[in-house]
């Protein structure tokens, strides 16, 4: 186990009230595995990822509880200087929108080499060489030329590759990918998933992969954490999660996937929308949308129940 998150709570104290974006999440990341965080928009998966490196805006955001164990450190509490050493060097993040995650006024080469020089004792020339190698590793045909380009001169897929190259520039042990396949088209998506698959086999990279797409999860994930309303409602190995979902929300998500073999029917959907994070429902926050809701669901918060080894669910159906 390389990262162990326990009871993580990240709240945002706004003038309209407290947003409990992440409210008690447990998960662990094992060496060399791809852990997926799955959920709808606003369920807290991005904030969970940002919390690992404390990258949310503070104020208003604050980690109010729990711990994030990495080696002997608690990332939720360690001094910012120590955290800065870890950011990029040990744990790196790939953001969703490659267009906005690259600085528009610096060339690609400048951005990557700057990054390398922060963490590694290399001079200008060495870091440029390293940047070129990284770019060609990511399947960019003419790294020398691309180094001189500005972000707006590259296509979306290229930018996403540059971004991944940048996060890999200091050989991180853990990669956090925040919906890297959401803003690109299908062919690029396939190529990017290939890159992540390759990272896993070649470098034994441990990855936290955030997505709302269960199809992507089934393709590259080893284990998955389903999140709803800032909580982890179900954790299981991916094959178990897809084949034997326990939580009604997970079942709903799987039903929503289009199935080519059954044509003609309307696509299933989960009724309602994600709850307003300022006023989460009492008890189980999913109960207003749940088809199997019982009386207890509206006032008692379900606790974690073990289904089998490595499969946990938070639902009153199983307690």
């Amino acid at each position: 186990m390389i990262v162990d998150v326990k009871g993580l709570k990240t709240h945002f104290f706004t003038h309209r009230g407290t947003v409990k974006a992440v409210d008690g999440v447990d998960f662990e990341l094992r060496q060399g595995e791809c852990l997926c965080l799955v959920g709808e928009s606003g369920c807290g998966k991005t904030v969970t990822a940002l919390s690992v490196l404390r990258l949310f805006d503070s104020p208003p955001g604050k980690i109010v509880g729990g711990q994030i164990r990495y080696n002997d450190l608690d990332l939720a509490r360690c001094p910012i200087k120590q955290l800065r050493q870890i950011r990029g060097k040990d744990i790196a993040i790939v953001f969703q929108e490659a267009q906005s995650a690259l600085n528009p006024v610096l060339t690609i080469g400048d951005q990557i080499t700057e990054q390398i020089k922060v963490h590694l004792p290399l001079n200008n020339e060495q870091s440029r060489d390293r940047a070129k190698t990284l770019l060609s590793d990511m399947g960019i045909p003419t790294p020398e030329t691309v180094m001189h380009y500005y972000p707006h001169q590259l296509s979306g897929g290229m930018k996403q590759r540059v971004l991944i190259a940048m996060s890999l520039s200091c050989d991180p042990k853990i990669l956090i990918a925040d919906e890297p396949t959401t803003a690109v088209d299908v062919t690029i998506k396939a190529q990017i998933l290939d890159i992540f698959r390759e990272l896993k086999t070649k470098r034994q990279m441990s990855t936290i992969f955030i997505t709302h797409d269960l199809a992507v999860v089934s393709e590259i994930g080893d284990r998955a954490v389903v999140m709803y309303g800032g909580k982890d409602v179900e954790t299981a190995p991916v094959s178990e999660l897809i084949g034997n979902p326990k939580h009604p929300y997970t079942e709903g998500l799987i039903d929503c996937l289009p199935d080519m073999s059954k044509s003609g029917d309307r696509l299933a959907s989960i009724p309602g929308t994600t709850p307003n994070p300022l006023e989460l429902p009492e008890g189980c926050s999913f109960h207003p949308r749940c088809s199997k809701a019982m009386g207890i669901c509206s006032h008692v918060e379900p606790s974690k129940t073990k289904i089998s080894d490595g499969h946990f669910v938070c639902c009153h159906l199983y307690t």
């Binding site: 805006d57 600085n103 940048m166």
Partner: protein
């Protein structure tokens, strides 16, 4: 190795500069402004080595009009108790005429160009550097730091800087260095506000978070990521504030608070005010120079603003 081009036709590495130059070139007024400013800078740098001493006094050659103009000069003869009037024509020796002390106008205007430009550049430089740093830091830190810095900016904005100048001139005497310092140290407020509002939106952009995610320190984010992104705004603000500073110095000189030991355009203009009836050119010539300079900087500033604005169709 054959270089394959990605994504169609891509500009080379000088692309950005060329791109903006092409956009500015299409604005003829901005180009004219730029030409005049280049001419003025050349004049200010080389001129004083070529011309005679601008402060030289020669009462035998006082109040000679510019070339192709004629003026009448009256002399009173005590012995005959008669007033004789004679016509004086402009000479090539003093192409722009002389003032009431016989100093050469051309030499004075060239020396004045040097002073006015220096005042404009140095005071604007101080103001822009202060404004940029205060604006960016304020936006980046946010919270109480932002509050304190912006309330301080508000106070500076409402503070009557002219009064401060009058006070300083009264206490320390009229010195160009003080005037430049005061204009610079009070003129940053507008820039700070503009830069802050621009940085506020930049700060939440993902590349700033991405830079932090890769281990960048606050300093690095501010100087490497935020400031280069507001560079176009800084250039525009600087270009548009230079004429204001030049005019402020001229205005101070005009009301007699300028440094009388240096022939800035404002000082020359002020000295011509008293002899407007007999030698109008002493006041008019620096006036024209001020007018043209201010106009040139404004045209260039407008042109730059259009060129840097991706939404304008040029």
């Amino acid at each position: 190795m054959v270089e394959t081009k990605i994504g169609g036709c891509l500009p080379n590495r000088t692309g950005l500069f060329n791109y903006y130059w092409q956009r500015i070139r299409r604005n003829k007024l901005a180009l004219a402004g730029l030409a005049f400013i280049v001419f003025l800078i050349a004049l200010a740098v080389i001129g004083p080595f070529v011309t005679s001493d601008p402060m030289a006094v020669n009462f035998d050659e006082k109040e000679i009009p510019p070339i192709s103009f004629t003026s009448q000069q009256s002399t009173y003869n005590i012995q005959t108790d008669q007033l004789t009037t004679k016509d004086i024509h402009g000479t090539w020796e003093h192409p722009l005429g002389t003032d009431s002390k016989g100093s050469d106008m051309l030499a004075m205007l060239i020396a004045g160009a040097r002073i006015s430009l220096l005042v404009g550049l140095i005071a604007t430089g101080i103001a822009i550097i202060l404004g940029t740093i205060i604006g960016v830091v304020s936006a980046y830190l946010g919270g109480w730091a932002d509050n304190i810095l912006m309330r301080f900016t508000d106070i500076m904005m409402t503070f009557p800087f002219f009064l401060l100048l009058v006070l300083i001139v009264f206490i320390f005497g009229p010195s160009l260095a003080f005037i430049v310092l005061v204009i610079g140290l009070t003129g940053w407020t507008g820039t700070a506000r503009m830069i802050r509002s621009e940085s506020l939106s930049l700060r939440t952009r993902e590349f700033v978070v991405a830079a932090k995610a890769l281990g960048a320190t606050d300093n690095r984010v501010v100087f490497r990521h935020l400031i280069p992104n507001v560079a176009s705004l800084i250039i525009i603000m600087a270009t548009l504030s230079i004429p204001g500073v030049i005019l402020a110095e001229a205005a101070l000189s005009f009301i007699g608070l300028g440094d009388p030991t240096v022939p800035s355009w404002g000082v020359i203009l002020e000295s011509g005010r008293h002899t407007l009836a007999t030698s109008w050119w002493v006041a008019v010539e620096p006036g024209i120079m001020l007018f043209l300079t201010v106009l040139a900087f404004n045209f260039l500033g407008d042109g730059l603003r259009d060129a840097f604005d991706p939404r304008s169709n040029l």
